[in-house]
């Protein structure tokens, strides 16, 4: 029985191997569009354009980046979900996508159900940092300050449910202290407020924080990566103080659910090869990112794990979008 089942599976596999390349062979037929749901100039956009320019060279058809910030990013993603599943439309997902899905029950698509993952592109941790003049010397000091100060410590957050917000609250849960998350539209205004002491500490990506650290405008306390991070040498992890906490933000590519697997495979192979290129690695490193090539399955597993991880934080803290 078992034998015949696997024989059948092998036969099917063989058939699909014959059939699918036929679909992949005449691909790409036309221009491929990578939708980025954040504004031009941001990190998803820059990485998206980097990948797009390399893909153009390798696929022989133009690969262009289209920014669609409408509907807080939902519109652009939805266009890819609903668009033709012929492998000509991709979307750049960010590490914030799983938590957004949890906070928005009315989001018209579900990541794992309505998209096929292609590959993750890169990953970057968040850093907790303070002004150079701050009396807080290390991460433990910050937790001590949060216990002592009425109302706890003041962090910045981006919108509700952004990774900054959830990491801040998570630190609150694990460190058993109060945190107050104050909303900012992006890192620069928050940076101004932490340097002049209006915020106790700032949480942001290595992309933003490390250049400021290098120029002695911020002092890093701890980093969210599971272990020491190559692009932030000497910065202790949050995990050393609060063992439960480790997280990385990431960027990844996804396509419409019914895209032929052979095309997904093909893009996966090409992008993985691109992520091996020295100049690509170097450009990512300049932005504080490490390449994170993965299989489509690995990307799905990552999203699944993060959905569970953020659900816990959101439930404990009662975070919700009103």
């Amino acid at each position: 029985m078992l034998h015949s089942k696997s024989a059948l599976a092998a036969l099917l596999l063989g058939l699909s191997a014959l059939a699918l390349p036929a679909q992949a062979q005449d691909w790409p037929k036309r221009q491929i569009t990578i939708t980025v749901v954040t504004a031009a100039g941001g990190s998803p956009d820059t990485v998206g354009r980097l990948i797009a320019s390399k893909l153009t060279e390798r696929l022989g058809k133009p690969v262009v980046v289209e920014n669609n910030t409408a509907g807080a990013g939902v519109t652009g993603t939805l266009n890819v979900v609903r668009g033709p599943a012929d492998g000509h439309n991709l979307v750049v997902l960010t590490g914030g996508a799983p938590s957004q899905e949890l906070l928005r029950p009315d989001q018209p698509y579900k990541l794992l159900k309505d998209l096929s993952m292609v590959t993750t592109l890169c990953a970057y941790p968040l850093v907790v940092a303070v002004a150079p003049s701050s009396p807080v010397q290390n991460f433990a000091d910050l937790l001590a300050l949060a216990k002592k100060q009425p109302g706890g410590v003041k962090f910045n957050m981006n919108a509700v449910g952004s990774l900054h917000h959830l990491l801040g609250e998570w630190i609150g849960i694990e460190g058993k202290v109060d945190v107050q998350s104050i909303a900012y539209r992006g890192a620069p205004p928050a940076f101004m407020d932490v340097t002049n002491g209006r915020l106790d500490a700032m949480i942001d990506t290595t992309t933003f924080i490390m250049p400021q650290v290098e120029q002695k405008q911020l002092r890093p306390l701890a980093i969210s990566s599971p272990g020491p991070y190559a692009l932030a040498p000497g910065v202790p992890t949050i995990k050393e103080t609060l063992p439960a906490i480790e997280m990385m933000s990431w960027l990844g590519l996804a396509m419409a659910k019914d895209t032929p697997p052979a095309i997904v495979e093909k893009i996966n192979t090409e992008v993985r090869a691109i992520l091996e290129l020295d100049d690509v690695k170097q450009k990512l490193a300049q932005m504080g990112n490490l390449p994170l090539p993965s299989s489509p399955q690995e990307m799905s597993v990552r999203i699944e794990r993060e959905l569970a991880q953020w659900k816990r934080v959101i439930d404990i803290k009662g975070i919700k979008a009103e």
Binding site: Q31, T33, V64, V65, E66, E322
Partner: protein
Amino acid sequence: MLRIRNPQDFAAGLFFLCVGAFALYGMKDLRLGTAMRMGPAYIPTLVAWGIVACGLIIAARALMVAGPALEKWAVGKLLLICGGTLLFALIIRDLGLFLASVVLVAVVSFGAPDVKWRHTIPFCLAIAGAAVGLFGGLLGLSMRLWPW
């Protein structure tokens, strides 16, 4: 006796009253919050009441101080101009820039008093071609250009 001495301002007052009231209605389910922890509706509600107050003042003054009458509306032209733009929006994604441009220019051209078919048709085609050349060719914007 109360008499509307400034019809234009009176209408403006009513308009702002409606805008304010509509906004207040739209936010009826949102939390107000307190001055320290402002809810999503706190500031917009204040602003909407401000608009209502302005509307009342404008309308009340219109009863006291004389002013201009309401002008007639050029409804046809309004529909042509905004309708042409709307049509462009509806077809650009599926039919591409060229056809959308032809349609927009053809429709809005009827807003001019001295429109003639023999001028308009070549003009439509020429300008749609120029638009495709400029935006699709020279500037290389990533939008659909042709229906196919």
